[in-house]
């Protein structure tokens, strides 16, 4: 089948040829819009009303931006937002640094490396509820294997998710264990496409490995870095299972992240109006984060 044959196939093909980019985008947009538009519109609509679906006797009335103001004035919500941003900061940076180091480590030929490239995916494949439960079991202050190992090394045995200072760190540990493989896979893929020739040239020039990393690896890896950061950022704002299983937001409100606060409002107390407003605020915060990151991507890749 040659190109000219298709070209001569008449009007449809000419049209298809001209509109191809649009034709490719429309199905997915139509599909997504069909599924999501109702929920989205519903959410925007309820966010302007006072409504509690399990307690209809409270009434259902228009409050305009009242829910948004409530959310901003609610110290619990704002504290939760702060915790979320803090937690996101910890996990994204830790996963990125670890991911980069590990991917550099694994970017070599060898049986061990090949094996590692496979098993590294295990934490990522495991169902998040099970991951969280497993870590709850292992970090258990009393019988947990981690405290047992620490104890037998003569190290202090912290109370992990039961203590004010370490609860959020425990949640972060679970997330880091679970998501570092994701970072590794994407970064490793990026590393593998850097032509070895570049390093050889640099070697001849007498560059140190440090210089090579910052002059060759890092710049060429940038698009992959941005891609992985955007995705991880989006997912970090949605952390839920580890909180629900490990701490229920406690002790106190130390680990009550925004998403958990949202869950409580919507699925425990059924303040759907207020919850929707919380959701929209979360989406806006996410959008701002993404905007910044996408700006960075565009600038760096020049596209």
């Amino acid at each position: 089948m040659s190109g000219s044959k298709i070209k001569s196939n008449g009007l449809l093909n000419t049209w298809l040829e001209r509109k191809l980019p649009t034709v490719f985008v429309v199905p997915s947009m139509v599909f997504l819009t069909l599924i999501v538009i109702f929920p989205l519109l519903y959410m925007l609509y309820t966010s302007t009303r006072f409504v509690n679906i399990s307690k209809p006797h409270y009434g259902n009335y228009f409050v305009g931006l009242g829910n948004y103001l409530d959310a901003i004035r609610d110290p619990k919500a704002m504290k939760a937002l702060g915790i979320t941003i803090f937690l996101t900061g910890i996990v994204v940076s830790a996963e990125f640094i670890l991911g980069l180091l590990i991917s550099v480590l694994l970017n070599r030929p060898g049986k061990l490396q090949t094996f590692a490239q496979t098993v590294i995916l295990i934490p990522f494949i495991m169902t998040p509820v099970i991951t969280a439960l497993l870590w709850r079991y292992m970090l258990q202050p009393d019988i947990g294997i981690i405290n047992y190992l620490l104890g037998s090394l003569g190290l202090p045995e912290p109370t992990w998710y039961a203590s004010t200072s370490l609860a959020l760190i425990s949640v972060a540990i679970v997330d880091i264990w679970q998501w570092t493989p994701f970072m590794v896979i994407i970064l490793l893929a990026g590393l593998q496409r850097i032509p070895l020739v570049l390093y050889e040239v640099a070697m001849v020039d007498g560059s140190s490995p440090m210089q090579m990393f910052f002059r060759i690896t890092f710049p060429l890896l940038r698009p992959m870095i941005m891609l992985s950061l955007v995705f991880k950022l989006l997912y970090s704002l949605k952390i839920f299972d580890s909180i629900h299983v490990l701490t229920k937001g406690g002790p106190g409100t130390v680990t009550q992240i925004y998403n958990y606060h949202l869950y409580k409002q919507v699925f425990r107390f059924f303040y759907t109006g207020y919850g929707s407003a919380l959701g929209v605020i979360l989406a806006i915060v996410t959008l701002v984060f993404c905007l910044v990151l996408v700006r960075l991507i565009s600038e760096e890749t020049g596209r």
């Binding site: 819009t33 109702f38 006797h57 202050p141 992990w160 409100t253 425990r268 107390f269």
Partner: protein
């Protein structure tokens, strides 16, 4: 962005909106059709659908369902969902009026919320009928359980299972050896707990790490432990929670009197006699630690007693004594009563069959079946003393006495929200972030706000 692509976008969006409207229109019509179809094909093969969480007692409920099927020919389908998701599952179903389930079994903690929502049917006539039925013997039902089924003067359901964590389980071998009896006051309890914290048996070398282990995780575990102590120390609450939680004007009182005392006692138990990190302890952790033989006594759920005497799970088989937590003699209020109750959603498709099932499942004989095949949690007084039941569950010797003193959780629709405030306050105190009295004062303030918003002070 070029002008052209903007134009395309506007076009795309317009087309999408039109399509979406058409699509929803169509699905609405299709949905309507299927509903009518459901009503039409009713007569013969009814399937009764029940939603419940995965409790040990569900095994017993399955047994009843099989009997019901045999007797009436109505198929019964029990859907087990994780406890953590039971509430939203039930609420979404009854609010949508979808009629997926004919019977829903929410936790008693949400009973008021469910009944006040107006999405489930009243059953005053049905209850009147049952009361008149001498064979059914309505008065035999545990009175506390019935409290969860009444709202605003009307009947809405009947209990499917009752359970309690007002039991005190002690290691009788250890206690006897050390010359202790079963503790009858909290002072005695503390003395024994103190004695066994870090205890090593001089003869056998057996180690007991903790005098007692108390659940301290945020939300239900720590709140139940606190309320149990509050009630046993002379606290009292009526159905609406009036008494030691708040007064008749819904002004919080739990941060004074028995509430405060109980919180102080709870902190002592959590911090001094229990394992490190008390806020990590759930009911599961507590029972597992006890079953591994490392705690001298616990206050625990009766639904888990089957595990205690199961050799594959427990190292203390036959070594436990089951009694009640220390109480003030002669007072009602020996701990909390928890429940699952049957309610019929307004949208239920088989309401008559659902009523028949309730009557069947709560009958003497079938309740006995639940207990014999599930866990020791009957809803009928007569089954507390039934010889077969006692032969199967020796732990139930005192159960009848215990259940007579239990008090149910407050019946206010805002209870879930209030619990969050209490859970936060108590766990903050448990990790030493704040003094327990101050924590409860803060919680009282939050509870006031919740009542204020819900219009209790108007």
């Amino acid at each position: 962005m070029t002008l052209k692509s903007r134009k395309i976008q506007v076009l795309i969006i317009t087309v999408l909106v039109v399509l979406a409207i058409g699509f929803y229109g169509l699905t609405a019509i299709a949905g309507g059709d299927s509903k009518d179809g459901g009503k039409g094909g009713k007569s013969k093969d009814i399937t009764l659908k029940i939603i419940i969480d995965s409790l040990p007692v569900v095994a017993g409920q399955r047994f009843i369902a099989a009997n019901f099927e045999k007797e009436t020919g109505i198929k019964v389908e029990i859907l087990e969902v994780p406890y953590g998701e039971l509430k939203e599952k039930i609420m979404l179903d009854i609010i949508g009026g979808s009629g997926e389930f004919d019977l829903v079994c929410p936790d008693g903690a949400w009973a008021a919320e469910v009944m006040a929502s107006g999405y489930i049917i009243k059953m005053d006539d049905f209850i009147k009928e049952l009361k008149a039925d001498s064979q059914y013997d309505f008065d035999d039902l545990v009175p506390g359980g019935l409290e969860f089924c009444k709202w605003d003067g009307s009947w809405y359901g009947l209990p499917s299972t009752l359970h309690s964590n007002a039991y005190l389980i002690t290691r009788k071998d250890l206690l006897e050896k050390a010359g202790f009896g079963v503790p009858r006051t909290w002072d005695e309890f503390d003395e024994i707990a103190e004695y066994f914290t870090g205890y090593v048996d001089p003869e056998t070398g057996e180690e007991v790490d903790y005098g007692t282990i108390t659940p301290g995780q945020r939300d239900d575990p720590i709140i139940m432990a606190w309320m149990n102590r509050m009630l046993s120390m002379g606290g009292a609450i009526d159905g609406l929670g009036i008494g030691s939680l708040w007064d008749s004007n819904f002004e919080p009182t739990f941060h004074r009197g028995p509430g405060l005392e109980a919180a102080k006692l709870l902190m002592k138990h959590l911090i001094e006699y229990g394992p490190p990190g008390p806020t990590s302890v759930t009911w599961g952790t507590q029972t597992e630690v006890y079953m591994s033989g490392r705690a001298a006594m616990i206050a625990a759920w009766d639904v888990l007693f089957a595990d205690f005497e199961n050799p594959s799970q427990s190292k203390v088989v036959g070594k436990s004594n089951y009694s009640q937590i220390p109480i003030v003699a002669g007072k009602k209020g020996g701990g909390l009563l928890a429940t699952r109750a049957f309610y019929i959603p307004k949208g239920a498709k088989n309401k008559d069959a659902a009523r028949a099932y309730i009557k069947f499942a709560t009958s003497k004989e079938q309740d006995k079946q639940t207990v014999l095949n599930g866990a020791p949690a009957p809803i009928r007084l007569s089954n507390f003393t039934d010889p077969d039941v006692l032969a199967k569950w020796p732990s139930m010797r005192e159960a009848g006495k215990i259940y007579a003193t239990l008090i149910n959780e407050p019946l206010v629709p805002e209870w879930s929200e209030i619990k969050e405030a209490l859970g936060i306050a108590l766990t903050r105190a448990a990790v030493g972030e704040i003094e327990v009295g101050d924590a409860l004062d803060e919680a009282a303030e939050t509870v006031r706000e919740i009542f204020e918003r819900a219009g209790y002070y108007r």
